[in-house]
C-alpha cells in the first residue's frame, strides 16, 4: 500500500473537488516565508509537519502563525524535527479557518461484507478508535449503484447537517466516492471534516492507495518513504523483502509459509532478521539475486525453506548454488536448507553435489538454523 502524506492526499482531493483550506507546501523556512509574504497562504495560518504518523498536534508538529516572521520560525522549528522516527522534510501551510464543529468521515473496504463501507461520526477531531461505538455510523455501499441519495441523506443526519451544509455534504461525498474508486484507494479518511459557516472543509486528508492498482496508477509507484535501501533494491527486483531486528535470514516462498517459518524459528529461540519471499518463480537467476541480496544484509545464518509448487525445487537449488559461488568468503554464512515438493529429488541432488544437505523436517531444520546463528540450541 502507498500511504500518502497529507498534502499529497489533499492534491487528490483538490483534483476531485473536495473543499480544502487555501494552502501550499514548503521544504524550507525561506519557502514558507515566501508563501505567506506573497499571499498564497493567508494569515493567520497553521504550519503542519508532513509525516505519516498520527498525533502531530500533541507532538509539537503543528504550530500556528499570525505573521510572516512567525510562519518562518514555525516552519524552521518543524522542519528540523524527527517525529516518531520520521525526519520532517516538508511542511504544509494553510489558512487558519474559523471552524464550527469537527466531524469524522471515511470510506474503506469491509473485507467480511466484501463491500466498501462509509463511516461517519459527529465526534471528529479525535482518534476514531476512542469514540464510542454508538456514535459511529457504518453504511455498506454497493459498488454497482455507487453512493446513493438515501445513503448521503443518512450520513447528513448522522453528522447533524441540514440545509446548505447537507447539500455541501452531498457534493463532498460524491467527490470522496470518486477518489475512492478512481484512485484505487484502500482508505480515504477526513478527520476532522469541519463545518465553516454553511459549508464543509477537509482539514486533514489520509489516503492510502492500493499497490496492486499500480498498472493504472504509475504516478503513485515512486512515492514510498518507509523502505530501507535494501528493501528498495528488492522492490526493483520484484522480491518481497522485509528487514527486522534479528540475525537469522529466512528465504521462503509464499506469505503463509514465510509466516509459519518465522513462527517456528521464534519458538526455538531464533530471531528472524530479514525475510525474503521468493513468491512463485521458475527462474534460477531470480533465486540467485535473492540470495545475493540476503548476503548484503549480513545474517548470522540463513534458513531456506521452500515448498515447490509453481516454483520447482531444482530451480531453487540451481539458483542457490550459483549464488553461493558468488558470495565473497568474508560474507559467507551458515546455511540450512529445506526443500520439498515439485522436483524435490532433483533439487536435493543438486544441493548435495554442492555440499548442502536438505533437512526434510521443518522442526529439525529450524532448530539447526537457530543453533547455527548462535541462539538457543
Amino acid at each position: 500500500m502507498v500511504k500518502l502524506s497529507e498534502w499529497r492526499g489533499k492534491e487528490i482531493f483538490r483534483r476531485h473537488g473536495v473543499p480544502l483550506p487555501r494552502g501550499a507546501v514548503a521544504r524550507s523556512a525561506e519557502d514558507a516565508e515566501a508563501l505567506v509574504r506573497d499571499g498564497r497562504v493567508p494569515l493567520p495560518c497553521v504550519v503542519k509537519a508532513q509525516v505519516l504518523a498520527g498525533g502531530r498536534g500533541k507532538g509539537g508538529a503543528v504550530r500556528f502563525a499570525t505573521s510572516v516572521e512567525e510562519a518562518r520560525a514555525a516552519a524552521a522549528a518543524i522542519l528540523g524535527l524527527e517525529f516518531k522516527g520520521e525526519k520532517v522534510k516538508e511542511v504544509l501551510l494553510e489558512e487558519k479557518l474559523a471552524i464550527g464543529r469537527e466531524l469524522y468521515l471515511s470510506l474503506t473496504l469491509d473485507r467480511s461484507l466484501r463491500l466498501p463501507i462509509l463511516i461517519a461520526s459527529a465526534q471528529g477531531g479525535v482518534e476514531i478508535e476512542t469514540v464510542e461505538d454508538a456514535q459511529i455510523d457504518r453504511q455498506p455501499v454497493h459498488p454497482f449503484p455507487g453512493l446513493t441519495g438515501y445513503e448521503k441523506r443518512r450520513a447528513a443526519k448522522v453528522l447533524g447537517l441540514t440545509g446548505g451544509a447537507a447539500r455541501a455534504l452531498d457534493r463532498l461525498l460524491e467527490a470522496v466516492w470518486t477518489v475512492f474508486e478512481q484512485e484505487d484507494a484502500e482508505l480515504v479518511e477526513i478527520n476532522p471534516l469541519a463545518t465553516v459557516g454553511d459549508g464543509l472543509v477537509a482539514l486533514d486528508a489520509k489516503v492510502i492507495i492500493e499497490d496492486d492498482a499500480s498498472f493504472r496508477h504509475p504516478e503513485y509507484a515512486e512515492i514510498r518513504d518507509d523502505r530501507t535501501p535494501l528493501e528498495e533494491i528488492a522492490r526493483e527486483k520484484e522480491i518481497a523483502f522485509v528487514q527486522l531486528d534479528g540475525n537469522i535470514g529466512v528465504i521462503a516462498n509464499g506469505a503463509g509459509l514465510t509466516m509459519a517459518t518465522l513462527d517456528v524459528l521464534k519458538e526455538f529461540g531464533g530471531a528472524p532478521g530479514v525475510f525474503l519471499d521468493l513468491g512463485g518463480t521458475d527462474d534460477p537467476k531470480k533465486v540467485t539475486e535473492a540470495f545475493l541480496l540476503m548476503a548484503e544484509a549480513r545474517p548470522a545464518a540463513v534458513f531456506l525453506n521452500i515448498f515447490g509448487g509453481v516454483t520447482r525445487c531444482d530451480t531453487v537449488a540451481t539458483g542457490l548454488v550459483a549464488a553461493m559461488r558468488q558470495v565473497p568468503a568474508e560474507r559467507r554464512f551458515p546455511l540450512v536448507a529445506r526443500i520439498r515438493g515439485n522436483n524435490e529429488a532433483e533439487g536435493i541432488a543438486i544441493l548435495r553435489a554442492a555440499g548442502v544437505t536438505s533437512v526434510p523436517s521443518l522442526k529439525e531444520s529450524a532448530q539447526a538454523v537457530v543453533a547455527a546463528a548462535g541462539g538457543r540450541p
Binding site: 473485507r111 503463509g256 513462527d263 515448498f307
Partner: protein, 294 residues
C-alpha cells in the same frame, strides 16, 4: 459431485497459451482433470498440450461443453476474463491470477454472485479432489485420496500441510485454497457448508493467517452449523505489529484480526488449534480416532 468438482468437471483454461497456463494445463491433465478447452483471443485453431484453443469462452462452452473456468489471465485483464466466463454460463471460476486490484475484485465478486457463478480466488491455488479433478495449481504430488477436507487462505503453506497429512498415511477428500486477498470469491464461511454436506469428508483442516476476520467469521459458523471435527492452524503468530490499515480499518475489526483473536475464536468453537504446521497430522489422526470411538 462432491465438493464443487468431480470427474464431470470440464475445464476451460483462460490464458492457456501463457507460460503458467500451459504448465498447469499439463499438470491438471496428469491429475486426471478433463481440460476440454483453452481460450486466448486470436489463437483459435491452435492446440496446447492436446487441448483445443478458442477465441472466446462462449466458443469453449458451445463447442467443447466447458463448465468450469481456470483463469491465468494477467491482472489488468482478469476482470474482463471473469465477466466473459460468467456471461458464457460458467458457474465455477477459479482465478489463479495474483495482484488483481480489490476494486476490480469487488465488481467481479458482485457480478458473479448476481449471475450465480462461484469464484474461487483470486491469487489462489484453486481446488483439488484427489482421484477426481483439480482446477488450479496445487502440486499433484502432495495428494492421496482420503477423507480429510482442507480449506486454506495460503498457497505454499497449504501444500506443506497437505503433504504432511499425506506423509502421515492419511489422505484428502477435497482441498480448496481460497486465496489471501482482501476480497475473495469464496471465504471460509462460504466453503464450510460444502464440507459439512460432503459425505466423503470426515474431518476438516482450516488454515488461516493473520489479518482480516475471515477466521473469526468461520469460527462463528463452525460453532453453530458445523458438526465434523475441525483442526486449525493460524500462521503469523510472531509477525511484527504494524501494516494496519489506518484507523478506519481498526474500527471495522475492533480488536479482531490478530492471531490471538483467531485462535481463541476457533478454540471456543470446538476446533483443535495446532501451534505449528507439523502438529497438524497428529491432531488430525487423534481427532479421527476419537470420532471413530463415538
Amino acid at each position: 459431485m462432491t465438493v464443487l468438482v468431480d470427474r464431470d468437471t470440464r475445464v476451460v483454461v483462460q490464458g492457456i497459451t501463457g507460460h503458467q497456463g500451459t504448465v498447469h494445463t499439463r499438470q491438471m491433465k496428469l491429475f486426471g482433470t478433463q481440460v476440454v478447452a483453452g481460450v486466448t483471443p486470436g489463437k483459435s485453431g491452435s492446440e496446447v498440450e492436446g487441448v483445443p484453443v478458442f477465441d472466446s469462452v462462449r466458443d469453449a462452452v458451445e463447442r467443447a461443453r466447458a463448465n468450469a473456468a481456470c483463469i491465468f489471465v494477467p491482472a489488468p485483464f482478469a476482470k474482463d476474463a471473469l465477466i466473459e466466463a460468467v456471461d458464457a454460463g460458467i458457474r465455477l471460476a477459479t482465478v489463479v491470477t495474483e495482484h488483481i486490484p480489490f476494486h476490480d475484485m469487488l465488481v467481479m465478486y458482485h457480478y458473479a454472485k448476481a449471475k450465480g457463478t462461484r469464484i474461487i480466488g483470486p491469487n489462489c491455488p484453486g481446488i483439488a479432489s484427489p482421484g477426481k479433478s483439480k482446477v488450479g495449481i496445487i502440486p499433484n504430488v502432495v495428494f492421496r485420496p482420503g477423507r480429510v477436507g482442507v480449506i486454506s487462505r495460503s498457497g505454499t503453506l497449504t501444500y506443506e500441510i497437505v503433504n504432511g497429512i499425506t506423509e502421515h498415511g492419511l489422505g484428502e477428500s477435497t482441498c480448496i485454497g481460497l486465496g489471501g486477498d482482501p476480497v475473495v470469491g469464496t471465504s471460509f464461511v462460504d466453503a464450510l457448508p460444502l464440507f459439512e454436506a460432503d459425505p466423503e469428508t470426515d474431518l476438516l483442516v482450516l488454515v488461516g493467517e493473520i489479518g482480516g476476520t475471515a477466521e473469526e467469521d468461520g469460527a462463528e459458523y463452525i460453532r453453530h452449523h458445523f458438526s465434523k471435527p475441525v483442526v486449525a492452524y493460524i500462521a503469523g503468530r510472531s509477525a511484527p505489529p504494524g501494516k494496519r490499515m489506518g484507523h478506519a480499518g481498526a474500527i471495522i475489526t475492533r480488536g479482531r484480526g490478530t492471531a490471538e483473536s483467531k485462535v481463541a475464536a476457533l478454540e471456543s468453537a470446538g476446533a483443535k488449534v495446532a501451534r505449528f504446521p507439523y502438529e497438524i497430522p497428529d491432531l488430525v489422526a487423534g481427532a479421527l480416532t476419537e470420532k471413530g470411538r463415538r
